[in-house]
Amino acid sequence: MDPITFSIIRHRLFRVVEEAVITLKHVSGSAITNEGHDLMVSLYRADGSLLMGGVGFLHHLTSAAEACKAIIRRFAGQIHEGDIYLLNDPYTAALHTSDIYLIAPIHHQGTLVAWSACFVHVYDIGAMNPGGFAPDALDIFSEGFSSPGLKLVDRGELRQDVWDTLLNMVRNPEMVALDMRSMIACNNVAKDRMLALIAKYGAETVDAACRTLIEQSETLLRHRLRELPNGRWQSRQYLEVKGEIAKVVLTMTKQEDNLVFDFTGSSPQSKYSLNCTKWASLGGLFAPLFPLLCYDITWNEGVIRPITMIAPEGTIVNCTRPAPVSVATVGAIQSVNNAACATIGKLLAASERYAEEATAIWHANHFAIFMFGRNQRGGDAIGILTETFAGAGGARSFGDGVDIGGEIPNPISRMANVETMEATFPIRYLFRRRMKDSGGAGKFRGGTGGELAIVPHDSPDGGLHYVISGKGSKFPMSDGLSGGMAGAANDYVWVHAPGETHNMDRFAQSLDSIPGEREPISWGVYPLMGNDALYVRWNGGGGVGDPLDRVPEAVRRDVEEGIVSAEAAREIYGVVIAGTHLDLAATEALRSRLRAARLVAEAAE
């Protein structure tokens, strides 16, 4: 095939995915989809292997491939033009039940030529707790509707019995129906554009281009791996639920053009729902691998071939049925993301050629806070605090991380504006801003996370409730690189004042000035009623390099902007600021003392 035709087809495939994503967003009515971009669309070959990975949460790219293969196995001989299949069972391929895959075969002249697959986190899935994250769940059976594969659309006709059955099992069926229709529309657009591509260039030419594209990706990644040094690198993540501490431990070994991710040593599966299944772990390690090692390589089956994963069965990264997994995406999966990001960052930092691609861990600790109740118009409302998608950039080997700068596993993640949230829920924000001292210290500082506080406002019921889950607030998780420190940990505080207490300050501008009793929370269902307030802070990114090597003026500027405290400037960065001015002589003297203090520290062995 001539290279120009190949290149055009490659770009057209990417545009097919892009247009399908736009369709998904336009039709869906959920903030988690439209604002948080908790979504994914990709194209797959006729055998279900990944052809063109799209944007959104990248840990779905390989899991949706497995979903396609599961559908191919289950419906062999019954897959027809115009069908659409649903799959959301985590023990088959999905990440958790509320991330529903809709998968559509693409036929050309009666022959299956490709698949389109997408997901959104649906408004509700009928789990114990509203919104899909179910901290109260004891097993998969209490985590809502779950299917290892069913036919939702048969030859272009919606199966009303299946549709009604699903919607009969969820809260807010109208919103779930809209989510489902957005995915049907998305798959229809992907199919139409694929068929238009085939009509223009011919099925054989497009098929050859797709085959070549996968071979090219494999060749390019193997070549890149051979350019990188051999070795092994380790990472460790701590998770905490109700006093139970779990670990995700990773040893990544790179030998020639192969990369092995070995999670041996990770904790046994938990009784809490932060576990993840094998397919979820595989997706979890690829989420940072795609952008960090394959930023200029098409994300497809060819990238998967050089990679091996070892995830011992019965552990938190490969749990066995019926262990609960509804919190997986903000639990073990994200810890796998983080661990893989850390080891890949170390690998890149070991290379002269690729050192500038190295990064500390970005936003490492999602929080799933789903509010539920009646809104100010009397209607039902369920939805996530989208600030969890706001993230924080990890520092790079050449510069600071971006403040509230997103996350590696989802290149298009973002948060809703305050006004959208206040229009959707009966709440009012007291403040939302960058969080001081949250970015990991380093020669290059991690991007800051943020902090916010909300109170009930204009609610017909005096407020609402929320489900909170995640990996807890006990441990920093955004590890630094090469001497850079981890970003600060998350924090969740329920400030509750008895009903008869008059809340004097309804415009408080800090946690300290919100009246009431403070209670740290991180798991369960809590009220936001009456005079309650909810304070949330989320982690910053990791730093890179020795904080004592940071340019003093950069530290002074951070202090001036309120994102680094004077205390941190002095104690961690060794920078002395007199008034608003740098004292360079005192800074140099202080840094010398701090370095000398390190030398008298105990020997590591």
Binding site: P229, N230, G231, R232, W233, Q234, S235, R236, Y238, E240, I245, K346, A349, A350, S351, E352, A355, A358, S397, K436, D437, S438, S473, K474, F475, P476, M477, D479, L481, S482, G483, G484, M485, A486, A488, A489, D491, Y492, P520, S522, R537, V544, G545, D546, P547, L548, D549, E567, A568, I572, L594, R595, A597, R598, L599, A601, E602, A603, A604, E605
Partner: protein, 93 residues
């Protein structure tokens, strides 16, 4: 020829063999292809005492700091509970 193995460490060929050295001052720390952290200057600081730490942070979790024994440059840092081993990163020589 010097060859970097991280932002702060590099391999150097010295009279007594290939060594992992500090990129700041050149001080040899360990033999190439081995675990270097046991040979670094070590300190641990409780995360809870650091500026910006939330009140809920685990009281035992620390930032482990591995520094060059000669110039004091911070070579690596890891978050850990006391009973866990050092993260062992080994780059092939």
């Amino acid at each position: 020829m010097n060859r970097r193995i991280s932002e702060t460490l590099e391999l150097r060929d010295l009279e007594d063999g290939r060594k992992i050295c500090c990129r700041g001052c050149g001080r040899p720390i360990a033999a190439a292809g081995t675990s270097w952290k046991p040979h670094a200057a070590f300190s641990a600081v409780a995360v809870a005492t650091q500026p910006g730490a939330p009140s809920a942070v685990h009281p035992d979790v620390v930032h482990r700091r591995f520094s060059c024994p000669a110039c004091g440059k911070l070579l690596d840092c890891e978050t850990a509970l006391p009973d866990d081993p050092f993260l062992d990163d080994v780059v092939s020589p």
